[in-house]
């Protein structure tokens, strides 16, 4: 993207002046280098989102923003239903409630190093990953309903975790107002055998070490110590979420004319929050959020089993579980008074600052952990929510590195074996059923996650706490 087409407000803040049908400005938080690396389509999509009814304050793009469908990935926008505000399936994305959960292991690098290979094999065997993989849990229709209503709380009741896990999961593990009856039979069918599966693409299960701490006080509050070994899980609502997303995207596209909403591009298909379709999508989408929370909870259980086999001294406790593809009803301060708005975060992590009433008690003083995934060869980060992020971005921050090149370009440049060998020489074990999948996910195919996190930190979307480096990566 050409930075000269934007108004630079500060080192990492760029504005798009409202023109045409834009109701609010566009705001991109990124360094000049990251802006230059962004596709021109990001600017177009940020501007298009700004035309949607009921949008509040601005249409935002996080530092890792890239070309999505309808909304950019890394896009944040809030809508007021009292002003005709909308909800958009494309503004959430197909992988509803995709997110990251990070676990402490209570072990140090030294304690894990000697069994790293065995642990990698055990994790790859325990957690199904990749195309065509099925979980070991089959849910009948009644059990699916219970899962879609209960989320991680359902999973814990079924012995896939402990109550303490829920204390540090968004929504206490259960998204309220989920409506399983609005989830189609095809979406249900896709999920029956996919619980506890990782998926493919950029999803992963990583064993990591805390490589560097930037903020000792917050790191201590989060229980993070240098060279502690952690586990991070990145995945979402699997086939059920994908099916809900695709079905409602089409339904919104077909119904769009009936709402009298003028949209600049069909891919912004949406429905008023206060419409039957809008309410139905929200109910189904919330069931999708519960599916993702339950899925990550089951994977946590499988990871604990694998660790118990290889490293019985491990005590896997949850740091936090946070989603980055959601639409949530939240109160935000606009003008003078707080008011309820529907915040779409598509590839953007919620980043509630200290004192926020929705925080789990464990983080009320610090702000929430913001978990940002990197690539299998670089680093992931733990950041913390700030008070400023409410004003800057409806309490949102970046979610990952963001792709710098297409899958085909990656495939042209790298071979899977070459990536696996290269990472092995750096002490990183990769386990994946697909060599081609590894090549498409080559670390070099992504932007510099460090630059993304720097920009988020500098502008105040969230603050750096710790950098995590991969030791083992299980990919689909």
């Amino acid at each position: 993207m050409d930075p000269s087409s934007l108004i630079r407000k500060s080192e990492n803040e760029w504005w798009i002046t409202p023109v045409g049908g834009m109701r609010v400005p566009g705001v991109i938080y990124a360094s000049e280098r990251l802006v230059r690396e962004m596709d021109e389509k990001v600017r177009e999509q940020v501007s298009n989102v700004a035309t949607l009814p009921g949008i509040q304050r601005a249409s935002y793009a996080m530092p890792d923003a890239h070309w999505g469908y309808g909304f950019p990935i890394g896009g944040v926008a809030a809508f007021d239903p009292q002003e005709g505000g909308i909800v958009s399936a494309g503004g959430v994305g197909f992988d509803i409630s995709c997110g990251v959960r990070t676990l402490h292991t209570g072990l140090t690098l030294d304690e894990v190093s000697s069994v790293k290979g065995r642990l990698a094999t055990s994790l790859a065997r325990s957690v199904p990953a990749g195309v065509g993989s099925h979980g070991r849990i089959h849910l009948d229709d009644a059990e699916l309903d219970a899962m879609l209503r209960g989320g991680a709380q359902w999973a814990v009741k079924r012995a896939f975790g402990v109550a303490a896990d829920l204390d540090v999961t968004e929504e206490h593990g259960c998204m309220p107002d989920a409506r399983p009856e609005w989830v189609s039979s095809r979406a249900r069918r896709r999920q029956q055998d996919e619980m506890g599966t990782l998926g493919s693409g950029n999803h992963y299960l990583e064993v990591q070490r805390v490589a560097e701490i930037y903020d000792t006080t917050t790191a201590t509050a989060f229980g993070l110590r240098t060279d502690e070994v952690l586990v991070s899980i990145h995945c979402g609502s699997r086939g059920l979420g994908h099916q809900i997303g695709t079905e409602f995207l089409k339904e919104m596209a077909i119904a769009e004319g009936s709402f009298g909403i003028a949209i600049p591009d069909r891919e912004l298909a949406c429905a008023p929050v206060e419409s039957e379709l809008g309410r139905r999508y929200l109910g189904a989408m919330r069931a999708g959020i519960n599916c993702a929370l339950a899925n990550r909870q089951i994977i946590t259980h499988l990871v604990r089993q694998a660790f118990a086999d290889e490293l019985p001294a491990a005590r896997l406790t949850l740091l936090y579980d946070v989603s980055h593809n959601t639409c949530k009803l939240e109160e935000h301060r606009l003008d003078r008074a707080p008011k309820p708005v529907f915040v779409h975060r598509k590839g953007a992590t919620r980043a509630l600052g200290p004192g926020h009433p929705d925080l789990p008690p464990a983080f009320s003083e610090t702000g929430q952990p913001v978990l940002v995934g990197g690539t299998m060869g670089t680093a992931s980060y733990v950041l913390v929510g700030t008070k400023d992020s409410e004003r800057l971005s409806f309490s949102s921050s970046c979610h990952g590195a963001g792709r710098a090149m297409s899958r085909h370009e990656a495939l042209r440049r790298w071979k899977g074996r070459q990536i696996v060998d290269e990472l092995a020489s750096r002490g990183i074990i990769v386990r994946s059923p697909s060599s081609r999948g590894v090549a498409e996910e080559a670390p070099g195919a992504y932007k510099d996650v460090g630059a993304v996190v720097e920009a988020a930190d500098h502008v105040g979307l969230s603050r750096k706490v710790a950098r995590l480096e991969p030791l083992i990566c299980v990919k689909g």
């Binding site: 596709d39 990935i73 896709r190 891919e267 297409s406 899958r407 999948g437």
Partner: protein, 148 residues
């Protein structure tokens, strides 16, 4: 957008084009149905080499939509659904389109990790870069971006 990978005869072929995080599919054919068929092959090529997929099982697919473009999305979504619930990949297709209804058969087999080396699951078809249009030469070109 640039042509990345393609296959087929002069009159019928498929291509992929670049999209930051996802993949664009193109189907080209002398008829609309053939262009849709080619798009089906392009979809499989996102996951694996379509030539590696044997035609062991036939799966019937019927879908309807109020426009040609949404019919393309329905067609690709139907294939994604069948791949997911059957753990199958499809390498060959027959497609007929009449009065806004698509009737097809997809031939394929169970995913074989060794042989197919499947790269990535497709989540669904999007409305991005979505087009179904006649070409100047009298044929058809269809395209859209799929989310992976």
């Amino acid at each position: 957008m640039g042509q990345i990978q393609s296959s087929g005869s002069a009159s019928a072929s498929w291509e992929h084009f670049s999209h930051d995080a996802d993949i664009g599919l193109v189907g080209i054919g002398p008829t609309k149905a053939e262009a849709f068929r080619q798009a089906g092959i392009a979809l499989t090529a996102v996951v694996t080499d379509p030539v590696s997929v044997q035609a062991v099982t036939a799966v019937p697919i019927v879908c309807r939509a109020p426009s040609d473009e949404l019919l393309l999305v329905e067609w690709l979504d139907a294939l994604v659904y069948e791949m997911a619930v059957r753990s199958m990949l499809f390498g060959a297709f027959s497609v007929d389109i009449a009065d806004g209804e698509l009737r097809a058969t997809a031939w394929g087999e169970q995913v074989d990790l060794e042989r197919h080396e499947p790269a990535v699951e497709v989540k669904g078809a999007t409305l991005t870069a979505l087009q179904v249009s006649p070409t100047p030469g009298g044929g058809w070109r269809v395209q859209c971006v799929v989310d992976v």
